[in-house]
Amino acid sequence: MSERLKISLNVNNDTHACEIDARMTLADCLREKLDLTGTHLGCEHGVCGACTVLADGVSIRSCLIFAVQAQGMKITTVEGLAKDGELSPLQEAFHDNHALQCGFCTPGMLTTAEALLTENPAPTRREVESAISGNICRCTGYISIVDAIIDAAERRRQGPP
């Protein structure tokens, strides 16, 4: 049996205390313990990108790290992207560009794009394609997702600081 640990996680600016097995992944902890089921699991071996979350603003695969390792990090999941019930410019851009169909890859796409746009507010199409190349989408064919991220970059540049 795995060792039980009490941990505290900062997720979407809230502090959550929970008791978990040491071997529990961050993705499972978010989904099972914190009930933040927006983070999806598509492969559980770090390839599909559906489980991407932000750790101190950097995109990481939450299926590849243990929850205990995330202590002390500022974690942002898809649930933390909208502010006061209003979709963020990135989410709006996905909506307007038909950048999602089944929605399963969407949380990982959004968090990956959020990290990209924070680091590079005016990416080229090629840079966007490269940034999301580790996120698999089976429905859209990606092009509308790239459109949406380019559109979001523009909205963020023009929007309130």
Binding site: H98, C102, E129, S133, R138, C139, I143
Partner: protein, 764 residues
């Protein structure tokens, strides 16, 4: 002002919950007291089971139950055939758990139910499976030999075989100026939705009730068979649809797990959840596309086709599952495609092998048939020195020739007829878009790459199957509820049906909420497959909306003490100038009378299929040193009758093209000689990513509304994928023409092309 939604790119109603992480997919559903299930799957392709030792697993803390086939009192049911249920297939049906023998890697052998998934998976490792290995059959040739039988009682490895024909093919070939014979192969790959399968079963201890969450696609069919299997009245079985992370044909069919999860719940008395992991998904969920096709064509010196004959062999895997013989039979039926083929004959064989069973994947049989036929057209064009587009034009059925009876090319299917349309104009539009006549294949001096263009034509059937239901209710809040038996697998069904409802009721679309799929919503339903939702559920919604308007008038007539024919309906209100009643007021009035403002509707197209059609073009750049192909530009035209939501149709087309590029270059289930699946993870089974995107121009044509449904829709979900391998294959073959390399087998991987190029160089 009447509201107009049909034909508009309305932003999707589903999006908000998906964008905020508040969708409810099956693994997001949690029930009190829920246990977790994991499945021990065979690591052997073919073996007798000699012992399953579950003692240690049972003793593990946190384990609730461990069982194999021998532990079950009742005989396990066979998973039924839903489609193409050909004679003799009954001998090859699968039971949910292997008994005595395993026949593919991934076949369920034992089940663990535990307090959580971590414990359940630990316990799997404690189960000791002892087997006596048997030789694995991994090719159709070895299957045919029959030296090793996979299902002993059947006495052969041939699932079934049949021949179909029309016209006098022998005579056509006898006198023909030109004939050519080629061997084609489309490799085994699959749908691989991003969300793996998953189910939760709950049973009520006090009453006969089995509730299965996570169902989709064909819930009413599945309910009927699950009810039978568990000896319950249909009314006691509820299939509940959640949000679904992609279907593409594979999700929602009856699989072993649809029986095992309820059995686990019955045995443990607790709700039980099973979520497939990706490794399971790649070996347990239906594979597809695995076809070989020996094909011959006969034509005049001018390239007018006189006849085609072929033999199609499908590698069906170890069992025949719900989709029966769809894949090989549709590959055979669609071989003549959109062309005037006066005579056609095809032998079709369904061969059992020690691989994962096969089912449908987006454009089943069509993707395969198009690759074979369209490659053959290009070979013929070169042989006869005719431009590929000109050759196609000569052979495409003209508008005057449609409707065109293609005959009984699938045993048991009704006589099939291609409905009205204009195939040549769809090709012409493509040729204009891709500037075909200006294009010259060449080795580009700028980077040394071979650049070429390939084209392909296609037809694609849509809207098959049973009738579909819709029911519309106006609530006293003024909100409108649409319920349908059709499922959603993520394609935007809620938005599409809301558009139709809002347009016909002349109301704001924001008032409409669409619920779908679950057997608890409506009395009956057909489900989601074969590009049918918009056609079938769309027309059912239209009928229900019209009935709601009539009912609203009747209610208003009661209020005004007049006859309904004196009233008009506009802007979501019933009017008797200058007075008017809103739908909300009438719904409230209905409630006071113990009534509801609601209507049920069924749309039945009597199984008459509408055929979409069009053409694809691919412009590629091939690196002759590495064999790497980049698709730089892609164009397609597709006649869809009438567009409900152009943005969603564009999404289907573009998504289909990229998925098809995966099937052309990447996706490949590779087995070794022992029947081991070598591509059991996303590190090995490759899917398209955003790193190699072509520029895609997808044009939906609306020139020929279908005459088989009042709204004029044809399906639009599969035209994007069905001709991709054909167009790209043709482009690559053109580039490689000087090297005389045959492009007859998928996938077209860099290593295959590089090897062929080296072989060709060494011959020089």
């Amino acid at each position: 002002m009447s509201k107009s939604y049909i034909g508009k790119s309305i932003r999707r109603l589903e999006d908000k919950r998906f964008l905020t992480g508040t969708g409810k997919y099956i693994d997001d559903v949690k029930l009190p007291g829920m246990a977790s299930m994991a499945i021990l799957r065979s690591p052997h392709a073919h073996a007798f089971i000699t012992k399953i030792d579950m003692k240690s697993a049972r003793a593990m803390e946190g384990v609730i139950d461990v069982f194999c086939a021998n532990d079950l009192e009742d005989e396990l049911p066979e998973i039924p055939l839903r489609l193409a249920p050909f004679t003799d297939f009954q001998r090859f049906l699968q039971k949910p758990l292997a008994n005595k023998k395993v026949r593919y890697v991934g076949e369920p052998v034992a089940v663990v139910v535990a307090e959580d998934r971590y414990i359940a998976e630990d316990a799997l490792e404690l189960i000791c499976l002892e087997v006596e290995p048997l030789p694995a059959i991994v090719t159709v040739q070895d299957s045919l030999k029959g030296e090793t039988l996979i299902h002993d009682a059947a006495g052969e490895n041939i699932g079934t075989q049949y021949s179909v024909s029309r016209g006098d093919v022998e005579a056509a070939f006898k006198g023909a100026f030109y004939t050519r014979r080629e061997h084609f192969r489309t490799n085994r790959h699959g749908a691989v939705p991003l969300e793996t399968r998953g189910l939760i079963a709950e049973v009520e201890p006090t009453k006969p009730l089995l509730r299965l969450h996570g169902a989709t696609k064909v819930n009413f069919f599945n309910r009927r068979h699950l009810a039978e299997a568990f000896n319950l009245p249909e009314s006691s079985v509820e299939l509940i649809e959640t949000d679904v992370g992609g279907g593409f044909g594979v999700r929602g069919e009856l699989y072993p797990e649809d029986y095992l999860v309820p059995i686990a719940s019955y045995r443990s008395g607790r709700p039980v959840k099973w979520i497939e992991d990706r490794r399971e998904n790649l070996s347990a969920t239906n594979h597809s596309r695995d076809i070989t096709c020996e094909m011959e064509i006969a034509a005049t010196a001018d390239g007018n086709i006189l006849g085609m004959r072929a033999s199609v062999q499908g590698d069906m895997g170890a069992y025949i599952r719900t989709n029966g013989g769809v894949v090989p039979s549709k590959a055979a039926q669609f071989l003549p495609g959109p062309y005037r083929v006066p005579s056609f004959a095809c032998d079709v064989q369904f061969l059992i092998t020690n691989k994962t069973p096969v089912g449908t994947f987006r454009g089943p049989g069509r993707f395969e048939a198009n690759f074979c036929r369209e490659r053959m057209m290009d070979l013929m064009a070169d042989d006869l020195n005719i431009d590929p587009a000109v050759l196609r034009h000569r052979n495409l059925l003209t508008p005057e020739e449609l409707p065109y009876r293609i005959g009984e090319l699938v045993p048991g299917d009704p006589d099939a007829t291609l409905d009205k349309g204009d195939y040549p104009s769809a090709l012409d539009r493509l040729l204009t878009e891709c500037r075909y006549s200006d294009w010259i294949d060449k080795q580009d001096p700028s980077d040394g790459k071979l650049r070429s263009m390939g084209i392909a034509c296609f037809i694609e059937s849509s809207a098959a199957g049973p009738p579909e239901s819709a029911s519309i209710t106006v609530l006293s809040t003024g909100d409108i509820e649409v319920r349908t038996g059709a499922s959603s697998v993520g394609q935007g069904t809620e938005t599409g049906l809301a558009q139709i409802c809002a347009e016909y009721l002349d109301i704001e679309i924001e008032r409409v909420e669409v619920s779908h799929g679950s057997t608890t919503l409506v009395k009956t339903g057909g489900g989601t497959f074969h590009s049918r939702n918009t056609v079938m559920a769309g027309n059912a919604t239209r009928i229900a909306a019209k009935k709601v308007k009539e009912k609203a008038k009747e209610l208003a007539a009661l209020r005004w003490n007049c006859h309904p024919t004196e009233l008009t309906y506009e802007n979501g209100e019933v009017c008797k100038s200058p007075d008017r009643f809103t739908l909300q007021e009438l719904a409230t009035f209905a409630e006071t009378r113990g009534d509801i403002l609601s209507a049920d509707a069924i749309f039945d197209n009597e199984k008459k299929l509408s055929y979409s059609y069009g053409a694809h073009a691919a412009q590629i750049a091939l690196d002759i040193t590495t064999g790497l192909v980049k698709v730089e530009r892609y164009w397609l035209t597709e006649e869809i009758g009438r567009a409900l939501n152009p943005a969603m149709i564009q999404g289907q087309a573009v998504g289909g093209v990229i998925q098809g590029l995966g099937g052309t270059f990447l996706d490949h289930f590779i087995y070794d000689d022992d029947g081991q699946l070598l591509t059991g993870s996303f590190a090995d089974y490759l899917l398209p990513t955003s790193s190699e995107l072509p520029e895609i121009t997808a044009i939906a044509l609306e020139n020929f509304p279908s005459e088989l449904n009042p709204m004029g829709f044809k399906g639009a979900g599969e035209g994007g994928i069905v001709a991709v391998a054909a167009a790209v294959g043709n482009a690559i073959a053109r580039a490689l023409k000087p090297y005389n390399i045959s492009i007859n087998e998928l996938p077209l991987t860099p290593d295959r092309l590089r090897e062929a190029l080296r072989g060709a160089e060494s011959l020089k």
